[in-house]
């Protein structure tokens, strides 16, 4: 990767253009009335096609992606994105479909929706899916709306609180707040699981439900799930499953069978669609049969959700089929446990035992702190990994530990890649023990060094300004 400094505005030269449009064959329609016309200058860049191609190619070369290297990013499931899926989504018979065309004209698209609904229901044990939500958090919000609608339809109007574990993804409480629900936090036990005794007094006639991810964000299976489901249901609440951590359960365990009533999936995680540098995603929401009537009253996106993403995920499901689904879950869990066991003598493992698709270290065992030299932190380890050609793990999450390093390898990495990652993690631990300053200064080999984030937030520059 090399540093490239231009912005597209700085490639601009008066009079250049990169478009090719047909000749105007129509009589001139006349101008808009002056009062409705744009008066402000239209300062868009003026660039030729080769300049545009070169600029964005140069920008791309400052980026790391799954196709570049390994992303051990906890809770993000950065698996390989199969290329056939891209090609299928770009077919003109799909890409050219107007969203308001009636079902009689879009039978192929409708069939994709029907089959996708059935496939996701089979994989998760839910009864029916809506494919309208455009991302995971959007799915959470949709699911919580369905949760509230269910209670409202039953005339049960006082259920305005939702229980969220302290280890939950940040989107869980945020989605609850957008949905008008008050968040009640339930603590985790020393072993990382939900404290069932602490949960009991929280359950009452004001509880709409509980949001959980299982395995949780520590990668640990919530072993008391049966008891939790029974308690929540007894109290009249519903169970929401955050599908961000679905990958280890693929082909092995179904959330519907564990008692969950509502769930979302992240097609851009579990179902291999590319993350796109922050979207587009897709967050289908599945419900148990008793909630099906609530679906029609909730409209959360413009048309049918992110069809292009749904097509890619469907191609992925067809490539796995009945035969290979289980390999996804098993190999993801195998890789995670192998890394954990290979590193736990140099990184602090707060909770030992078998994990699922991910696990959390609480920083280095020996951070190299001595005299007045501070030890290497989790941030330092993360930045040093970039020097060695790996993406960093998720850091400082979950909030249960101060130096959290959350590692999720996925099933698509070879043993060689995983061994190379382990070797580098061990090397970094050795570097820290010897001289933590190497880590404090990292990264050294990336296109830029650590940025001044404080100034960025204090004096925000959020758009291009000519010097």
């Amino acid at each position: 990767m090399k540093y490239y400094d231009k912005l597209i505005f700085e490639c601009s030269k008066e009079g250049r253009c990169g478009y090719s449009l047909p000749k105007n064959a129509f009589p001139a329609a006349g101008e808009l009335p002056q009062a409705l016309r744009r008066q402000a200058p239209l300062d868009l860049p003026q660039v030729s096609e080769p300049d545009v191609v070169r600029h964005y190619t140069n920008l791309s070369q400052m980026n790391f992606g799954v196709d570049t290297g390994f992303y051990p990013l906890g809770s993000c499931t950065m698996k390989y994105n199969p290329k056939i899926n891209e090609e299928m989504a770009a077919l003109q018979g799909f890409a050219g479909l107007h969203p308001l065309m009636p079902a009689s004209l879009t039978e192929g698209a409708c069939k994709v929706y029907e089959e996708m609904d059935k496939a996701l229901a089979a994989i998760t044990g839910m009864y029916k899916f809506t494919l309208a939500p455009c991302a995971g958090a959007h799915g959470e919000l949709t699911g919580l709306m369905l949760m509230r609608q269910y209670h409202i339809n039953r005339g049960d109007l006082n259920r305005t609180k939702v229980i969220v574990p302290d280890s939950a993804h940040g989107t869980n409480p945020a989605s609850a707040a957008v949905c008008g629900l008050e968040v009640v936090e339930v603590k985790s036990l020393e072993n990382g699981r939900i404290d069932v005794e602490a949960l009991k007094p929280l359950l009452g006639p004001d509880i709409a439900g509980i949001m959980m991810t299982n395995p949780n964000t520590l990668g640990l299976f919530e072993t008391e799930i049966k008891t939790i489901a029974a308690l929540v249901h007894e109290a009249g609440g519903l169970l929401y499953y955050d599908g961000a951590n679905m990958n280890p359960l693929m082909g092995v365990v179904r959330p519907g069978d564990m008692g969950f009533d509502i769930m979302h999936l992240n097609l851009h995680k579990t179902f291999s669609t590319p993350h796109g540098g922050g979207g587009p995603g897709s967050g289908p929401v599945g419900v148990a049969q008793k909630l099906v009537d609530c679906l029609p009253s909730i409209r959360v996106s413009a048309f049918h959700g992110n069809f292009g993403v749904i097509l890619r995920a469907y191609a992925y499901i067809l490539s796995l089929g009945q035969e290979h689904l289980r390999k996804v879950g098993e190999y993801a869990v195998l890789s995670a446990n192998y890394i954990k066991e290979s590193l736990k003598d140099v990184y602090k493992l707060p909770i030992d035992g078998v994990c699922k698709h991910e696990f959390v270290f609480d920083g280095l065992i020996n951070d190299g702190a001595h005299d007045d030299v501070p030890g290497a932190t989790t941030l330092d380890v993360a930045k040093r990994l970039l020097d060695y050609g790996f993406h960093a793990p998720t850091i400082y999450f979950p909030l249960l530990f101060h130096q959290a390093l959350m590692i999720e390898p996925t099933e698509t990495e070879s043993k060689e890649t995983i061994d190379a990652f382990i070797a580098v993690m061990r090397k970094i631990a050795a570097e820290a023990a010897e001289d933590p300053n190497i880590l404090h200064e990292a990264p050294h080999n990336t296109p830029i060094s650590r940025p001044d984030e404080t100034t960025a937030a204090r004096n925000p520059i959020l758009k291009y300004q000519e010097n």
């Binding site: 912005l7 597209i8 505005f9 449009l21 047909p22 129509f26 329609a29 009335p33 016309r37 744009r38 868009l44 096609e49 545009v52 191609v53 190619t57 920008l59 791309s60 980026n63 196709d67 056939i84 770009a90 799909f94 065309m101 995971g136 958090a137 959007h138 709306m145 940040g170 989107t171 945020a174 609850a176 957008v178 365990v253 179904r254 796109g276 540098g277 922050g278 979207g279 587009p280 009253s297 959360v300 959700g305 069809f307 292009g308 993403v309 796995l320 869990v333 195998l334 446990n337 192998y338 066991e341 999450f397 990264p443 990336t446 650590r450 940025p451 925000p460 959020l462 758009k463 291009y464």
Partner: protein, 424 residues
Amino acid sequence: MLDKIGVKKLDDLYSDVPAEFLHKGAYALPPAMSEQEIRDYFASLEAMNAKLKVFVGAGAYDHYTPSVIPYLCSRSEFLTAYTPYQCEISQGTLRYIFEYQSLICTLTGLDVSNASLYDGPTAAAEAMKMAIACTRKKTRVLLSKGLLPQVREVVETYARFHGVEIGYVPVADGQTSLEALKAELAKDDVAGVIVPSVNRYGIVEDHAGFADAIHAQKALLIEYCDPSALAVVKTPGEWDADIAVGDGQPLGLPLCYGGPYVGFMAVKKDHMRKMPGRIVGQTVDKEGRRVFVLTLQAREQHIKREKATSNICSNESLMALWVTIYLSLMGPEGLREVNRLSCDGAHYLYGELLKTGQFEEVFPGKPFLKEFVLKPKQPKLQERLEKAGFFAALPTEEGYVSFCVTEKRTKAEIDALVKAVKEG
């Protein structure tokens, strides 16, 4: 690997799962397909969709996509990257988002843009929530009846659960009524008003006096815009709007049955810290070089949890790149030319359709660009045109039919559509 872990077989990795939850038997899925089989199957699905010439807009516009865009957007460094949390290896993503933000500010005439939202309707819903957050003790948000139905329905859904009351401003003579708006504002409970820059009849609205009336009540003016049309119509900034939202789809995104699209939002500087979503800012690295980072993160869910301005996490980053490349290729002249071609084509179609004698004008003399409505004299026009190979004459809730012409529609196609109308 199993030895290292200290287990004998893969099943042992699930020993912590209660046996009753381990799925027994086969999953109800089709058998695995090879790549060739997937290709053939998708070709068969694709063939089941009708291939029609599109003469409908209504929130999704069939503009031309220059081939450079999919070419560049499929570069794996963009396509397969995660959200740019590790800025040292994400400068490509961060730079194009910064460019995108700058371009959205230029188009809308407002100060600050975020890195994108899901689509136009959810962007409007976020603006609704923002209006409530920015104004004290106000509980109601007004929607113009001139907004597209999907925008109203999504905002209504969000509002119902977020505890926001929705009011409506009727349309009079083809545009949001200022008089009716003033009557609603007089109730002193309005936090914000969402009005379309170009409404669902295709009419370019005149918002003179809107900002003054709304600001007098300390409420926010929110303009819902077609960003392509902003090259020629008065900008939200020029109308003194506080927030601009809309869908970036008209900027070269394929129709793709409704998504992925990209919601945009730009605001006046005062409201910057209440804005939802990611924002990229410029700063320097240790060597003093210009670099870009995610900033103002204290607004976001991963920091503030239930106190965040929104729950949004993944947005539509790659589609923001799509828009950025589109605007770079088109430049000011190209974007104006797209509007000119679409507008001239639409006016030509409007005139030719009237000449058939099968329509009545609904809003004579009202200014429109690429989209318009007429009142048909015969029923089931849409179905008849489908048989002739056109997707056109989309019925509105009032029983009008809506047409749209983009630069992709040739004169020959328009003439053929008119001929099909005549032949009934």
